[in-house]
């Protein structure tokens, strides 16, 4: 039992309060500690991946209490992979937040950032259903603070909607947990899996209710149509780096669905495909509405938000297969879509910083047009799923996984047609923003920004370029995310083998269950 398993929760939980209590008024110190903390988190995540790679499920018993009674943290391949993805995304986006000056638009950015990481890492690690709810609340309450970072009327209004929607989701989560507890009498996920498997088939009405309620909760987090309404305004109004970090938050919902419906409710046992029958059409509609939304919107932030919805649709199609091949495709596409969505949100923020707004319309050529256009070009290829980047490979894997499925024609038609729509929409947006602006003639020389000290008061919602202390850092962090996508493409073979090993582990939950409940060293 390695104590480092709990480090991804402890580390941000220590650094966050440190930042609030000791470095409240020193932004540079906050930046150093916060980035060092996230980098350390990435190091721990790499170590945990090496640990999980062996194929064992590692259990961390909090307080060394025996399993169904105490809370356990679980480390298997999927959670290790998600931890690493979270840490890499958070590190890159945090560098962007520092480089673009977003972190000084309001107070406590770095502290909230650490609490957000604590919640996300905890949600990926925990093996207890109620503990999962608590970590969801931790990440949500930090995200409320981050979402309204910098202030502004529209952002606050979007924040109220976001909170209201997620509070309703949280009550639903509690209801689902209550139903499951009343039927199974346990909250430990491994123990619950055993009790569900032992339950006679005619007694499962309440259990099915609980399972579907739980799926709805995760679908709210993942922004699955028709539960996606909170996402576009939230992501479009959130600060760019925060929206980029939120790219992992929708994946927490996807993770929850994968975890619960492979471990607790294995497909062929009790739930009898009820969930798969609901999930697949929802995924197809999500994909279609996301990609049509890219075409329909007139705001670049909403464009990126709808692209994120579309990628969740593709992901859910793979998840809804509930077989090892589908899950492997989902794991690969999850890594890709997180990096791609994060990069796209950052690039949109770069455009906003240079143009002053994010409306999709003709404006003067912005400074640094060529660089941003090149970055957008790469990210758009990745998001649309065109060759040669990993989006193409990911979609190919999803289509391959759905080939034996009964509704194969519909799934393939939806994926292919919506890909075409996305390519057209992203190309149109790029040409309006980057190319057609030359028709308006050269940009007027911008007035030199007034040299002022660090501003701590929230002012205008979008960062202006002159205020950015280190633009190179912002560009470098976007390049870091894009190079992650390139690496995922170049190393597609090893990555796919890893995804397949992860899926094989997920679809063989006996090892997970027995490592929690049976091999209990050190307890009596």
């Amino acid at each position: 039992m390695s104590h480092l398993i709990i480090a991804p929760v402890i580390l941000p939980a220590v650094i966050g309060p440190l930042i609030i209590l000791w470095m409240r008024n020193d932004l540079m110190l906050q930046r150093v500690f916060s980035i060092a903390g996230t980098a350390l988190l990435a190091g721990v995540a790499i170590y945990l991946n090496a640990l999980a790679m062996g194929g064992d499920v590692h259990v961390y018993r909090l307080g060394n209490w025996a399993a169904p009674f105490g809370i356990v943290l679980m480390l298997d391949r999927l959670s290790a992979l998600m931890l690493l993805l979270t840490a890499v995304l958070a590190l890159a986006v945090q560098l962007y937040a520092v480089g673009s000056g977003w972190d000084r638009k309001g107070r406590h950015f770095h502290a909230l950032w650490q609490f957000q990481l604590m919640g996300i890492c905890g949600a990926f690690l925990t093996g207890d259903a109620f503990n999962l709810f608590v970590f969801f609340e931790v990440l949500l309450i930090a995200s409320y603070g981050l979402m309204i970072h910098g202030g502004g009327g529209m952002r606050l209004r979007a924040g109220v909607q976001y909170i209201a929607y997620n509070l309703a989701g949280s009550t639903l989560f509690l209801a689902a947990l209550g139903v499951l507890y009343s039927v199974t009498g346990t909250l430990n996920m491994a123990d619950m899996a055993l009790r569900v498997a032992a339950m006679p088939a005619e007694d499962t009405a309440l259990l099915r209710t609980g399972a579907v309620l739980l799926m709805l909760v995760f679908a709210v987090k993942a922004a699955l149509v028709p539960l996606h309404f909170w996402l576009p305004s939230t992501y479009a109004n959130a600060p760019g780096p925060v929206a980029a970090l939120f790219a992992i938050m929708t994946k927490v919902g996807v993770y929850g669905i994968i975890r619960f419906f492979t471990l607790v409710f294995p497909q062929d046992a009790v739930i009898e495909g009820v969930v798969a029958d609901l999930l697949l059409p929802a995924a197809l509609f999500t994909l279609a509405i996301g990609q049509i939304g890219i075409l329909g919107t007139r705001h670049l932030g909403r464009l990126a938000a709808f692209a994120a919805i579309g990628s969740i649709g593709t992901l859910m199609i793979a998840v809804a297969q509930f077989n090892p091949q589908g899950t492997a495709a989902a794991v690969y596409y999850m890594i890709h879509s997180t990096l791609a969505a994060g990069a796209l949100f950052l690039i949109m923020d770069m455009i906003g910083a240079r143009r002053g707004d994010l409306w999709l319309r003709l404006e003067q050529v912005m400074p640094g047009n060529g660089l941003v256009a090149a970055l957008y070009f790469i990210a758009a290829i990745a998001v649309a799923g065109m060759p040669p980047l990993s989006g193409f490979i990911g979609k190919l894997l999803v289509m391959q996984a759905t080939r034996p499925a009964p509704g194969m024609v519909w799934i393939w038609a939806t994926i292919l047609i919506t890909s075409l729509i996305a390519i057209y929409a992203l190309a149109r947006a790029g040409s309006i923003v980057f190319w057609k602006s030359y028709e308006l003639g050269p940009a007027p020389v911008p007035a030199p920004p007034a040299a002022t000290g660090p501003k701590l008061e929230p002012d205008e919602p979008i960062q202006d370029l002159g205020d950015a202390p280190a633009n190179w850092l912002a560009v470098a962090s976007v390049l870091l995310l894009l190079s992650g996508i390139v690496a995922l493409t170049a190393l597609a073979g090893p990555a796919l083998r890893l995804a397949e090993a992860t899926a094989a582990q997920l679809h063989n939950p006996d090892a997970y269950v027995s490592s929690v409940l049976e091999a209990q060293e050190g307890t009596k």
């Binding site: 109620f130 608590v134 609340e137 309450i141 409320y144 309204i148 202030g151 502004g152 009327g153 529209m154 606050l156 209004r157 979007a158 924040g159 109220v160 909607q161 909170i163 209201a164 509070l167 309703a168 949280s170 009550t171 509690l174 209801a175 947990l177 209550g178 139903v179 507890y181 009343s182 909250l187 305004s233 479009a236 109004n237 919107t297 007139r298 705001h299 909403r302 707004d357 409306w359 319309r361 003709l362 404006e363």
Partner: protein, 122 residues
């Protein structure tokens, strides 16, 4: 007692759902509160309803109530209380910045301001 409790939970839930579908933040906050009360009672009932029994096993093996839901309710109360405080602060902020307390997003969230877009086309 079961009928009374389930009736109360149902009434609270219905009122809560009705209120969170309203257009003003105050009603929505009240609805959230009612909904979380309903859920707290519901969680309490998931351990089955037993009257006059301690929440712990005793040597005599007499009747006991399930202590776990009580711990869950305690956690849920704390969390929902904190969340309600957050949403009240946020709604106040939005009201002070935006001038009204409507929950839905205005048109300006989705569409560019009309006069400026004509300027941009010139």
């Amino acid at each position: 007692m079961e009928l009374l409790l389930s009736g109360a939970i149902g009434m609270l839930t219905a009122a809560g759902v009705y209120l969170i579908l309203r257009l003003r933040t105050f009603a929505v906050v009240l609805g959230m509160t009612m909904l979380s009360y309903a859920i707290n009672l519901f969680l309490f009932a998931t351990g089955r309803l037993v009257v006059n029994a301690p929440p712990i096993l005793n040597e005599a093996g007499g009747p006991y109530t399930d202590p776990l839901p009580q711990a869950l309710v305690l956690t849920a109360i704390v969390i929902s209380f904190g969340m309600t405080a957050v949403v009240v602060m946020m709604a106040l902020g939005a009201f002070l910045e935006g001038g009204d307390d409507r929950v839905d997003m205005p048109r300006a969230d989705r569409l560019p301001p009309a006069p400026q877009s004509q300027d941009g086309d010139v």
